[in-house]
């Protein structure tokens, strides 16, 4: 008992010394305000989790450089769930009950988000997830917000662009995971937009060839093709079999990782998304410059989403006080917020409040992202 208490005191003292060193740099002082974060830094979701972690750590630096939470530094404890919902759940328990964090950011994947939401909801810990979640969960858990668009909004953005180029007949290539979820929202919406889905072809996640599915889409003679996937394969296949119609891709394939893997096929593809680091919107410029300077690479949507989530929670803490209860913090979080990625309003029914007008439409030209002037009015 005496030994363990000595050790914990020593550990605390060391931590304080360490923190005061940072605090001097950041002009903040006092006990840090602890925020937990869970991302998929390894495993299948690492393409999301790694950029999100970068965004979080950059935001932490930025928040502390600007005075932290009423002068106290913020500390974001980032954990990896290895793309596994069970791991996410045990990390969440540790962060909430062990580390006593004030709020939780993440996780990166939908299954993990639903799992972790069970704990944060039951214990009234505010959570801002990096996924689209879904209406069933959004109705129940009113303090589990999210900074990426719900799939219904992604489907709407695809259809808005199709409408703008007067595509009445659309062929769809989608995968059996993410693609299925977006497809479920897309089908009922298509009628409303006067878009006829002339071919809907599915392929398994990780498929190495989707040529035959693409050929069926081609044979249906669509005016445009939607690709909803998290891989470069269908993009290469539609170009290989010489589909010349415009290709519109859901945000899932917007990352550099997939675009690089498309090779010469990364051309004439339009993606409804939020951040084009090569040509940011005016309010995104500061974030993009800071990110480039720190990481020597160009940020995209997931970096910005994590950055926004951290800043929203910091704003709520500054409003409600660093020691506010979860419920107070949750109320404080539910104000309109203009982020780098989008405009949010967590008091909206869908727990994100991102309007369709926040989307920008990028176009891949010769493997490079360009920003098109097209926007959807609210």
């Amino acid at each position: 008992m005496s030994l363990s208490s000595l050790i914990s005191k020593l550990a605390g003292a060391t931590a304080l010394v360490g923190l005061s060193a940072i605090a001097v740099q950041a002009q903040t002082s006092g006990e840090p305000v602890k925020i937990g974060a869970i991302v998929s830094a390894t495993g299948a979701g690492a393409g999301l989790g790694v950029p999100e972690r970068n965004g979080l750590l950059l935001a932490e630096k930025d928040i502390n450089a600007k005075g932290g939470i009423k002068g106290r530094p913020i500390k974001i404890i980032v954990e990896d769930d290895a793309s596994n919902p069970d791991t996410a759940l045990s990390k969440a328990n540790d962060l909430i009950f062990g580390q006593k964090v004030q709020a939780l950011l993440g996780p990166s994947l939908t299954a993990s988000t639903v799992a972790v939401g069970g704990v944060t909801h039951a214990n009234k810990i505010p959570q801002i997830a990096f996924t689209g979640i879904g209406p069933a969960v959004e109705r129940e858990r009113k303090c589990v917000a999210h900074v990426l668009p719900p799939q219904r909004l992604n489907a709407t953005a695809l259809l808005e662009y199709a409408k703008s180029i007067k595509a009445a007949k659309v062929g769809v290539l989608h995968d059996a995971g993410y693609g299925n979820v977006v497809m479920a929202e897309l089908k009922p919406l298509a009628d409303k937009y006067g878009v006829k889905l002339v071919a809907v072809e599915k392929f398994e996640i990780g498929a190495t060839d989707t040529t035959t599915q693409a050929a069926k889409v081609k044979a249906s003679q669509p005016d445009a093709v939607f690709i909803i996937a998290t891989s470069a394969t269908p993009f290469r296949n539609v170009k290989q079999i010489q589909i010349t119609q415009p290709v519109i891709a859901a945000i899932g394939s917007s990352s550099y990782e997939y675009v690089n893997a498309m090779g010469p096929a990364a051309d004439n593809i339009v993606i409804p998304e939020f951040v084009v680091g090569e040509d940011p919107l005016p309010h995104q410029k500061d974030f993009v410059e800071l990110y480039k300077k720190t990481y020597n690479s160009t940020p995209k949507n997931y970096e910005a989403a994590a950055w926004d989530a951290a800043h929203i929670i910091a704003a709520a803490l500054n409003k409600a006080g660093a020691d506010a209860t979860g419920e107070k913090l949750c109320e404080a979080m539910k104000a309109p917020y203009t982020g780098v990625l989008a405009n949010y309003n967590f008091s909206a029914d869908d727990m994100t409040g991102i309007p369709i007008s926040s989307f920008i439409f990028s176009k891949l030209v010769g493997g490079k992202y360009t920003r098109t002037p097209f926007r959807v009015a609210q």
């Binding site: 393409g47 392929f203 190495t208 040529t211 394969t233 290469r236 079999i241 090779g263």
Partner: protein, 295 residues
């Protein structure tokens, strides 16, 4: 269903079938020569393709030399795995399932190593014959796919000739059929097993290099290829590399015809139902016992 759609499905089916066949042939060559079910056959493809990519982009080798380098890398890794692991386990009379566990472990380790050292990104190689395509009745096939089919068929015939006409090939067959008998006639059974792994590594690497211009290579590709290659090999008769070629083509064609004939949603259901029926009717594989004697 139009004629051009059927033709497009046939093109895709044959192209994919040859890829499955190359992986399956390596798998069954190794099984034939060592009774090891090699769950890391797809990783040979990743090694070959990644090495070719690295030699081209980092070391600036010309394409042909880089391809040779990639193929040699696959062969060397094959030899290393036999010398470093299989040989010791065989000496202690390890069972087939121990070997299976070994190769599963190696597959995961190699995939993780590629992720760690090379990264998550997918890579492409330039297509043989350029970006050109052949168009028949509106159905499109890349020149590269034609090359892949030609080289795949060539490799199949060469493998058959190797097993039937060369001393090394005949010795490898003898060592696999009756190790003690082969040893009494002066065949070094251990060496033959090393050659078997070299051959498996070479075939796997060749498949990986050939397929990369079409589908790209990343750290996750190996397992996908192993699964399809394994299905191809079992379908054709596991101990017969030529059977894997037949099995691969069957699998590729059934898959793509299922998409146009029924629905892409039920592609795997249809394809694997057909495979189950084939295995029930022909439990020895499509080529059956007749094929098993030769191969």
């Amino acid at each position: 269903m139009t004629l051009s759609l059927v033709l497009q499905a046939l093109f895709a089916g044959v192209t994919n079938g040859i890829v499955y066949a190359l992986v399956g042939m390596g798998l069954s060559a190794i099984f034939k020569g060592s009774r090891v079910i090699n769950a890391m056959q797809g990783e040979f493809a990743v090694i070959g393709a990644m090495m070719t990519v690295l030699l081209m982009t980092k070391s600036g080798w010309p394409y042909a030399a880089a391809i040779a380098g990639g193929a040699v890398a696959g062969a060397l890794v094959g030899a290393f795995i036999e010398v470093a692991f299989v040989r010791f386990m065989a000496r202690k009379n390890a069972s087939e399932d121990s070997f299976l566990l070994l190769t599963i472990g190696l597959a995961l380790t190699l995939s993780a190593s590629v992720l760690f050292f090379i990264g998550r990104d997918g890579h492409l190689l330039p297509p043989l014959g350029g970006e050109g395509v052949l168009i028949v009745l509106d159905a499109v096939i890349q020149f590269h796919a034609l090359w892949l089919i030609a080289i795949g068929i060539g490799a199949t015939l060469a493998l058959r000739a190797f097993y039937h006409r060369t001393t090394v090939g005949l010795s490898m067959m003898a060592a696999s059929i009756d190790a003690d008998g082969a040893a009494t006639t002066g065949i070094n059974v251990g060496h033959m097993r090393t050659f078997t792994f070299v051959l498996g590594g070479l075939l796997g690497a060749l498949g990986g290099i050939l397929v990369t211009p079409l589908i790209g290579v990343d750290y996750q590709l190996g397992l996908n290829l192993t699964l399809k290659g394994f299905a191809a090999a079992v379908l054709g008769g596991l101990t017969n590399p030529l059977g894997a070629a037949v099995g691969g083509l069957t699998l590729g064609l059934v898959e793509s015809l299922a998409i146009i004939g029924i629905s892409s949603s039920y592609k795997d259901v249809v394809a694997f139902s057909v495979l189950i029926v084939i295995m029930i009717l022909m439990p020895q594989g499509i080529l059956g016992r007749a094929g098993r004697r030769g191969g």
